[in-house]
Symmetry: C2
Subunit: 358 residues, 2 copies
DNA sequence: TTGAAAGCGCTAACAC
DNA sequence: GTGTTAGCGCTTTCAA
């Protein structure tokens, strides 16, 4: 009889709809099934430390949760608790370089580990998009936001960020008090030169970038410091500037060779690549004729050059990790708020085969 | 007098606390300020089509919203509406390659454009992490999830995904009915060979990968198809397999040269890089002695090789865009649900200087 | 055209 | 120990 198709509304689980997926079981359902109140269920769900729950009640609740396949609704939790477990990450470029990906990766893992989830926004540096992203984040009640850039430089923070706990990653704002996490360019530059010095080199060229940046200044200072510590006098004629790409490396090669240097530190791996090519074209061998050190440890490239390139690693992953660590520190202990600081993350040397022992 | 410090609780905006940030203005506040009810405010906020609001009331509301700097609380909206504007993206590797970043980028932009925000999770292929990520997503009431891999291959979908609308990106599951978005390897391979053919080459080698994958099979088939269309007989002696890295390219170089081919299609840009190096070492010139075509259009590399490499682009960005497009299509028109399909995204050729016109 | 009120699923007093 | 209940901020009937 057709009438049978008219199901009893009470017996039909009214939650089974919603896009045909995700039939949501609620706290109330669990409570009913376990024969307890919702608060009891809530209590056992949240492992409240002080909360004493009867061994028996807890067991029933757990059983019900399991049987019903209950999953808490974080939106409701957030609403009730007045806070969410979101962290927003705005990146100025997640695709044009492999770097940003590492930052995101690190941030995501650390956030996850701490029970937070990462919301991401890509702005391509567009100020307006940035503003909208931040607003969107705030609408989502993020606990804080990470503002990151793909290359280390100074920025001026979007004004919207003052309304929310923020940490800067791979950039810093000289006019602001936020905490920033950046690579330690100085120690990185020093490590680069040190690899060559340790291998016995004394005449070490330095091919820097033409564009002004903390990387340019910091690495150069590090290089000079390493020389000084080794008692090697600095020699301006060994220091060059070039475009920080393969082309730059190719163009500067001749001059570097002319100096008679036995080793060279490059501003980055790409410059080193250009140098490799130029040297090859001249029939020169690496590391026999010239030892080369890069910077960045750019994945996919450095390890697979011929010979594999010794370089210094830019700690993007770490940057992301430490970024959320600092952020959560600020978020979870509000007393720290406003306490500014700049964290410098070490850039470890990566020894491969482009350095010849003298 | 000290007593003055005891502020009148009523006059002190009780929302000003919350971590010292983000003083949230609520709908109710706006309603009060505008002298209307919350429902009226809600109505104007949502530009409800049918809802007729007095010109006057609307103006007052808008004014209040503006003055108070009101922003809706999406958690509350989500709760009330029974759905969120989240899309979850699980990636098996966001950092180890530049590729995943592009997918995320595309997905993020498209999601954003449609009013959704992207939640991301990185799993490094760990099945357990994957499960937890998906559960976390579901707890956050995501509207759907994108499951993506960094290289195109066949997978078996995590079972948890059956509970939520899903689309696969850069992978496909032969045993499942979900919609998948993948690169069109066949047309890509064809485009690669076509570049050489168009430049007048007839003896074209093909250096494929040793590892089985849709890329390997598809590109080869495309290469053969292009030859056939051009009336060039396939020649097994021109086809090689090698490791899909720089090393592979270096090792195979000699054999390729021996064939007397005037052009060669490489499985990917990295193989092409290896070939470049090996050729340089032999004193051979590209493209004069050999024309080379890569695959992937790997950023940072291809355009800056010397000479810049002609290649075929892997459409990761597009993959991400189309992925969320398809997802939202499924989500927003539930009638489509269960309708399986595989979308192949074109891989456009990118002409640069590694091909010599004959 | 507008307002009142009943939830959405959960948390956190507070009472028993 | 466990249950009751009042919200969290918003949407959405349903009346007025």
């Amino acid at each position: 009889m057709a009438v049978q198709r008219i199901a009893d509304p009470a017996s039909e689980n009214s939650r089974e709809r919603k896009n045909g997926k995700r039939s949501s079981v609620t706290l109330k359902d669990v409570a009913a099934a376990a024969g307890t109140s919702v608060s009891t269920v809530s209590l056992v769900m949240n492992h409240k430390p002080g909360a004493r729950i009867g061994k028996d009640a807890r067991a029933r609740v757990l059983k019900a949760i399991d049987e019903l396949g209950y999953r808490p609704n974080t939106l409701a939790q957030g609403l009730a608790r007045g806070r969410s477990n979101f962290i927003g990450l705005v990146a100025d470029s997640i695709a044009t370089t492999p770097f940003a990906g590492q930052i995101i990766h690190g941030a995501q893992e650390e956030a996850w580990k701490r029970g937070y989830v990462l919301l991401i926004a890509n702005t391509e540096g567009d100020r307006d998009l940035e503003r909208r992203a931040i607003e969107e984040f705030m609408e989502h009640n993020v606990s804080g936001v990470i503002y990151s850039t793909w290359y280390h430089h100074e920025i001026t923070m979007p004004p919207e960020l003052t309304q929310v706990t923020t940490v800067l990653v791979n950039c810093s704002d000289p006019n602001s008090e936020v905490t920033a996490v950046v690579p330690d360019e100085f120690r990185g530059g020093k490590a680069a030169a040190q690899m060559l010095i340790d291998a016995g080199h004394r005449r070490i060229a330095f091919v820097n970038s033409t564009s002004i940046s903390p990387a340019r200044t910091g690495r150069r200072a590090g290089y000079l410091a390493a020389l000084e510590e080794a008692g090697i006098p600095a020699d301006e004629s060994l220091m060059f500037d070039t475009m920080p790409y393969q082309e730059g490396g190719m163009r500067i090669a001749e001059q570097v060779v002319q100096t008679g240097a036995t080793g060279v530190c490059c501003h980055n791996d790409r410059v080193a690549m250009g140098l490799y090519d130029a040297l090859r074209d001249r029939g020169l061998r690496i590391p026999d004729d010239l030892s080369v050190v890069g910077f960045d440890n750019q994945e996919v490239i450095a390890a697979h050059m011929s010979p594999p390139l010794s370089t210094v690693q830019l700690p993007h992953y770490e940057l992301g990790v430490v970024g959320v660590k600092m952020l959560l520190e600020d978020v979870e202990s509000p007393d720290r708020a406003g306490f500014s600081r700049t964290i410098r993350i070490d850039c470890p040397p990566v020894m491969r085969d482009s350095i010849r022992r003298l």
